[in-house]
């Protein structure tokens, strides 16, 4: 915008404020002193060309599929292919989840997404005392290759792709998957999928760590090296903002911390001797989509632009595929209310809309009953239908980045981008992501934001329908999923049988070799895979590594 035009718009705006606006405000003031987003960001009354005065279309936006990818990572986006509707599921035994997976595949779903139960996530076997009451409750119980074979039985692993939400023991579950594929006659070069494998956000937010940060980063670089050679179609890390946001972070904290973590992984890979263009194209992202429509859309655009720029400038990547921030989105679990749960369908719809307008590659929509338990089949079906209605009926997938050029969206995108860089500077000053974790920086930032959010609700600066306004005394009338206690017995029996029928001497020997590799510098993956093929369990492998690395103790901050 030229100086002259800028002056003219500024003058017109001042005239409007002094006359038209003032007259109205004198008669009836606005509803609130300040208007804020879900992240407590103040929002102006109106946005005009003045707010994006330095806007340069080609530099800031460009075209989809071209640097800096603000408008989208692919040239045709949803006109070419809709986002993947990838619903996260897993419960009970491997048999039960296998049945659910096969049902989903029959319905035309092409990708699977596995939720493991908490003992697997924490690297405990089902018969560990720590697993009491948790077997098959929050996800599917997987102890060894025996369970994995059942989980994917009659599912061709050279045809489907599978996303596994697994972090601290990600190397073990990846090896389970490779070994299960081998049993089907499918080689590791043919399989495709994702492991979350994002340990940094575990220390910051999700809190399902096992080992301390330094050995954890070593395991991750081992995975990057191994997959680059042996599992080339695998997405090695799903760099996740979701859990950071759910733990209470603001939208900017989510995008800034997630990108900082991503850049730390790239640096670790480069430091381990990998070429950035050999592994960066296999990194993907996972974000939250919260209720504040415009702030969320701006967040996704910031993420794409900053990632492309940093990968190009910092790491001198040459392959354009390295610049692409491809991401999965899940609607905000934390925005679901236990009160009047049917209202959550509406919340999820708005959040899904934000993800689509923000250019997501895949989407999970939460079910209305998830403030109470895992979803029932009916609730999960409504959540999937929500995506289908948005895709086919709403018209929002017809054009790319429909809000691009909006004064508000562009101003918000620029503002959030600047704030992201301010966080990068602060993290840098603390000595990088791992050092900042050890100092409790992220944990404190997130917990402060969570507390402020709660205060705003209690002071009614923020209205949550059914919670602090429009409250009713109606009893809950939706059915809630229950896990059959039989699951625990079945799982414990299978684990016992596995331990009886395998070659225990061989397992011990392989676990010993794994420990020696962990003490040295050998890549751990071939050792884990060898033990897994002999039916070593996730708990045994993680305990072998616990002996070498110890467990992380977090600083208590609240």
């Amino acid at each position: 915008m030229g100086t002259k035009e800028k002056q003219s718009v500024s003058q017109t705006k001042r005239d409007w404020e002094n006359n038209t606006l003032k007259e109205t405000l004198d008669k009836s003031p606005e509803r609130r002193e300040r208007f804020i987003t879900t992240s407590s960001r103040p929002i102006a009354r109106i946005y005009t060309p003045i707010d994006i005065a330095d806007f340069n279309y080609e530099e800031h936006l460009g075209f989809p599929g071209q640097y800096p990818y603000t408008r989208g990572v692919y040239p045709t986006m949803y006109r070419g292919r809709l986002w993947t509707m990838r619903m996260f599921s897993g419960f009970g035994t491997a048999e039960q989840t296998n049945t659910r997976f096969r049902y989903l595949l029959e319905q035309g779903q092409t990708g699977l997404s596995v939720a493991f139960h908490l003992p697997t996530i924490q690297g405990y076997d089902s018969d560990d005392p720590m697993s009491k009451g948790e077997i098959g409750v929050c996800g599917v119980a997987v102890d060894s290759l025996a369970d994995m074979e059942i989980l994917f039985s009659h599912i061709p692993l050279n045809k489907v792709t599978t996303s596994m939400t697994i972090n601290a023991p990600a190397a073990v579950l990846l090896c389970f998957y490779i070994a299960a594929a081998e049993k089907q006659g499918v080689s590791s070069t043919q399989i495709g999928g994702t492991i979350q494998n994002d340990i940094l956000k575990e220390y910051q937010a999700q809190k399902t760590w096992i080992f301390p940060p330094d050995p954890s980063m070593r395991i991750i670089t081992d995975i990057l090296q191994f997959c680059t050679k042996k599992v080339p179609r695998w997405n090695t890390i799903s760099i996740s903002g979701y859990h950071i946001r759910e733990a209470g972070a603001t939208a900017v904290q989510e995008v800034a911390f997630t990108l900082a973590n991503g850049l730390a992984y790239v640096q670790a890979g480069v430091d381990a001797g990998l070429k950035v263009d050999d592994f960066a194209p296999r990194l993907s992202f996972f974000f939250d989509s919260h209720l504040d429509l415009f702030e969320e859309i701006a967040k996704f655009r910031v993420a794409r632009r900053v990632w492309a720029r940093e990968i190009q400038d910092r790491f001198k990547a040459k392959n354009p595929r390295s610049y692409l921030l491809r991401f999965h989105t899940q609607t905000a679990g934390v925005s679901l209310t236990a009160q009047q749960p049917e209202n959550n369908i509406v919340r999820t719809t708005i959040e899904a809309l934000a993800a689509i307008l923000g250019g997501t590659q895949s989407l999970h929509t939460n079910s209305m009953d998830e403030a109470w338990a895992l979803p029932t089949e009916k609730a999960a079906t409504i959540a999937l239908r929500t995506q289908q209605i948005l895709a086919h009926e709403s018209g929002v997938a017809n054009t790319i980045d429909p809000l691009g050029g909006s004064y508000f969206i562009e101003a918000l995108t620029n503002e959030m981008e600047e704030e992201t860089y301010r966080y990068f500077d602060r993290i840098e000053k603390l000595g990088g992501v791992v050092e900042a974790i050890k100092k409790g920086f992220f944990q404190r930032e997130i917990s402060d934001s969570a507390f402020r959010f709660q205060r705003e609700i209690e002071e009614k600066e923020r209205i949550i329908v059914g919670v602090n306004e429009y409250v009713t005394d109606d009893q809950l009338e939706i059915p809630v999923l229950k896990i059959d206690p039989e699951v625990e017995r079945t799982q414990l029996a299978r684990l016992q049988k596995t331990r009886k029928t395998r070659n225990n001497q061989k397992v011990d020997q392989l676990l010993g070799q794994l420990q020696r590799a962990a003490e040295g510098t050998d890549n751990l993956l071939p050792h884990i895979l060898a033990a897994v093929r002999e039916y070593a369990t996730v708990g045994e492998i993680c305990n072998a590594l616990r002996d070498v690395y110890g467990e992380y103790q977090e600083p208590i901050i609240f």
Binding site: G133, V137, T337, A371, S447, V480, F558
Partner: protein, 132 residues
């Protein structure tokens, strides 16, 4: 004039989940309300929780769980508190707990269950009312 002892509260996280947002928000609100708050950190076994409650000589134990294992872990915690002669400690709970489970949990002696969306002030008032 006697100096009154601050009410001592243990916020404990049984279960394997890492969801500590609620526990921390409540811990901070209780601290701001003038209570002495001890937070256990994550993944505490029933034994660890009962032992900490005893060692810290608390008046209140607040259990936060989102993993779904409450029906297995809460009865054990209540039993272990009883064995340590701490049956008079006020035990309250919060997290993801289906309504059907409220009644059996209350029968165990858990005085109140504060679900998602509870104002922290309500928890403060409840503790003040139910402790000497």
């Amino acid at each position: 004039m006697t100096e009154t002892r601050k009410i001592r509260v243990l916020i404990a996280k049984p279960g394997l989940d890492g969801h500590d947002r609620g526990a921390k928000v409540v811990a901070r609100a209780l601290r701001d309300a003038g209570f002495e708050v001890i937070y256990t950190g994550l993944r505490q076994t029933p034994e660890q929780i009962a032992e900490t409650a005893l060692q810290e000589d608390v008046d209140v134990v607040g259990l936060s769980i989102l993993s779904g294992a409450h029906m297995r872990l809460f009865p054990e915690i209540m039993q272990l508190l009883k064995e340590r002669e701490m049956a008079d400690v006020l035990v309250i709970a919060g997290g993801i707990i289906p309504e059907d489970d409220f009644e059996p949990l209350k029968k165990l002696g858990i005085k109140e269950i504060f679900g998602p969306g509870t104002p922290t002030g309500e928890i403060v008032d409840f503790i003040r009312k139910h402790t000497k």
